[in-house]
């Protein structure tokens, strides 16, 4: 019996990265802008999507893939807005992986403009998994505190944009949006920052406008 050591150098996320690349290619070919939303539970991902559905419905069609550990609740909320939605229940897994999205992709209607993926509420694990999205946004709500970017740097490092949510609560909380934005920008310069209250519809126009511009860039091949 002999002992030998072999050099492998195999990326543990390689399978996920390949599945994500295939999704990105397919969605770009179909002219669909895919957006992955990451945040801790309760920071307002579903409420933001409801508000975006109201804002975009006149000119655009959207669909939503919901990730949760259990229940169909979020997908039902989105369907009540007249938007097609698929619920992925992970049964305990803390994040969505690209192959889970791949399984749903065939059911997503051809003629849509935006595909939103609401990841499992968790500011840690989803950051490591590319889902084939074009844009990744991290949401941070005012009750969570403005000190979170430096505490959870991977999520902010992997994002393209930061959405500060629940701005209607700012008068009652010690949350400083400028501090939260500065801390996130120190980790990821160039991060696009939005401040919204989905409940009151504030800041949603700016966010929707940014998404529409990104969609136009994607379709003109400048993405």
């Amino acid at each position: 019996m002999t002992t030998k050591t072999i050099t492998v150098v195999r990326d543990l996320l390689a399978t996920n990265k390949q599945a994500a690349a295939a999704i990105r290619q397919e969605l770009r070919a179909r002219g669909i802008l895919c957006v992955n939303l990451l945040s801790s539970p309760g920071s307002g991902k579903t409420t933001l999507l409801e508000s975006l559905a109201d804002r975009l419905r006149d000119r655009f069609r959207m669909a939503v893939i919901e990730g949760d550990i259990e229940t169909e609740r979020d997908a039902e909320r989105i369907r009540r807005k007249g938007v097609p939605a698929w619920q992925i229940t992970t049964g305990g897994a803390c994040h969505l992986e690209a192959r889970m999205i791949g399984k749903v992709l065939g059911d997503v209607p051809e003629a849509i403009d935006f595909l939103f993926i609401e990841n499992v509420g968790n500011l840690v694990c989803p950051a490591s998994y590319d889902l084939g999205e074009d844009l990744r946004f991290v949401l941070l709500s005012s009750p969570e505190g403005d000190d979170k970017p430096a505490k959870y740097p991977q999520a902010f490092l992997s994002a393209d944009g930061l959405i500060l949510t629940k701005s209607d609560l700012l008068p009652y909380l010690p949350f400083d949006p400028a501090r939260a934005a500065a801390e996130a920008l120190a980790i990821k310069p160039g991060l696009k920052v939005f401040t919204v209250s989905a409940l009151r519809g504030e800041g949603i126009d700016a966010l929707a406008g940014y998404l529409v511009e990104a969609l136009e860039r994607l379709r003109s091949g400048r993405a």
Binding site: T3, T5, P189
Partner: protein, 114 residues
Amino acid sequence: MHELSLIASVFDVLEEKAKEHGAVRVTGVVLKVGVMAGVVPDLLESAFETYRKGTLAEGARLTIVLVPVKLRCPDCGGEAVREDADFSCAACGSRRVEIVEGRELVVERIEMET
């Protein structure tokens, strides 16, 4: 807390390589883990201990090599390891730095008996 699913991927690689090399036992694995990879080394170790039972890597040692964050600056061409969470160029202060190391999750080496 996705360390267990990552360890499952490690075992996929172990089984594939053991078969390829005709190994009867895997005795050691070296993982390279970036400090910004979003995983906890202690949790990887306990996941490995749980997962290896009854496999051909039952008695294998897991070695985790932590990789610090290394930044490259496109403005001044500098490359430097940063220990803190300050993602700016140590030489010129530019914020346009790219992370070249420190986010990896890689099976680097496998030790086996054939």
